[in-house]
Symmetry: C2
Subunit: 250 residues, 2 copies
């Protein structure tokens, strides 16, 4: 840890102690999609090599979900993001390495249980914000990640696993794709998340069966091939299946 970060921590510690709940933090795994690549938003603490997930603390009079939304907005400028709380992480030695040279009564050095959320965000609507603790806040390719600090690798992997599971019964894409998109673009999003190729015919049939897509009277112009059809999500049907699940197996 460098001197700048150390001094910032010492300065902010008493303010944090006054404003926030003890022992509990929030971490956000923010996914975006750009150039056919799944991305995740990471921060780098000032003077540290390893990267981490954007996170923060919960105000004493603030609902947990509101705290997560506030923290995300502070980092990305993005409002009203749909956040999926997926797991809380509470091993005893989660973060002791990072603050080992700091005084024991430093707010940030205490033990935290972290409630983790994942979010799917439109890459173009995000302005990564470097806060007081950080030297950088950047999108990184999910298939080419740097080293993580604390247990953030575990949290990230757990989020990606959950997102993949959620594909089985939740629609995905509304915040990751542009307003109008082609079926191949939607398929490439699914393939990026699942990290595997999907059969085109099966994908089309399944997507159509879900009833969440409206086919538009437009096509994507400009390519060398036959212009592909454009689609839009049916917002009502999308919202409904987000709440109730796409398919009931049983």
């Amino acid at each position: 840890m460098n001197k700048t970060l150390y001094n910032t921590l010492i300065e902010l510690s008493p303010i944090c102690k006054k404003d926030y709940l003890s022992s509990i933090s929030v971490d956000c795994v923010v996914f975006g999609f750009y150039n056919d690549k799944l991305k995740v938003l990471l921060i780098q603490l000032d003077g540290l090599d390893a990267w981490g997930l954007p996170g923060g603390y919960i105000l004493k009079e603030e609902d947990l979900n509101k705290a997560a939304n506030r923290i995300l907005e502070e980092r990305t400028g993005a409002k009203d993001i749909f956040l999926n709380q997926f797991k809380s992480f509470g091993k005893t030695n989660r973060s002791e390495n990072v603050f080992k040279d700091c005084p024991d009564d430093l707010w940030h050095k205490q033990r935290y249980i972290s409630v983790a959320f994942y979010a799917l965000i439109d890459y173009h609507k995000v302005t990564p914000v470097v806060d007081k603790y950080s030297a950088a806040c950047e999108w990184k390719d999910v298939d080419n990640l740097p080293d993580f600090m604390m247990d953030h690798q575990t949290i990230f992997e757990s989020a990606l696993l959950q997102l993949r599971k959620d594909l089985n019964y939740k629609p995905v894409g509304l915040n990751l794709l542009p307003e109008k998109f082609t079926m191949p673009e939607l398929q490439r999003l699914y393939e990026a998340i699942l990290n595997k190729e999907l059969n085109r015919g099966n994908f089309y049939r399944r997507m159509k069966r879900y009833g969440i897509l409206n086919k538009l009277d437009e096509t994507r112009k400009g390519g060398a091939h036959k212009a592909p059809d454009l689609y839009q999500f049916d917002k009502e049907a999308y919202k409904c299946s987000l709440e109730n699940g796409l398919s009931e197996i049983w």
Copy 2:
């Protein structure tokens, strides 16, 4: 709140403050299955009408998952239970009603974020334990529940919803049924969880496709009808599908 509970709280408050993490608690939704009914284990605080979920706090040097297992064991005597952490609950006013007549510095009166787990337990292996705070600890039928205290109704409903979703990609039954069971018994467990009737043929086919059942060379004797076949879970296959999911849709 009656005088007994009040005095217990006042007595335990400083001990709790010394031993446990602030601001964070654990609640357990414990499901059992008996007489074709899905059951949940509830407690009643001394002098309160409403019922609640068994819960507790996390020791300062204890992993979150270990805390959940310890709390569950203290209530049920059941060891090594597979616990599913499904959500954390953190509205600001979660529990203020219950402790409104207590001093503001009472440990139990502070604001808690609660990490909730659900567990599936063999009804016969549980010995409900009434602790210092409680007047009762009992199994209740899921389809005939008493009033809940705090936000425990919300936590319970969220657990049941999660269990139903989990049926889509996790095996269920190992801890809820006896060692040997018939297909109709397994089907009734699923029907109790889903609260709906299932088609017998579809159920049989799906279960066999999962490859987690071993058909035994025994039948269930004693009924008026043709003796039905007995099955056992294939422990290895069951464990594997618990970790990796029953079916990959994509």
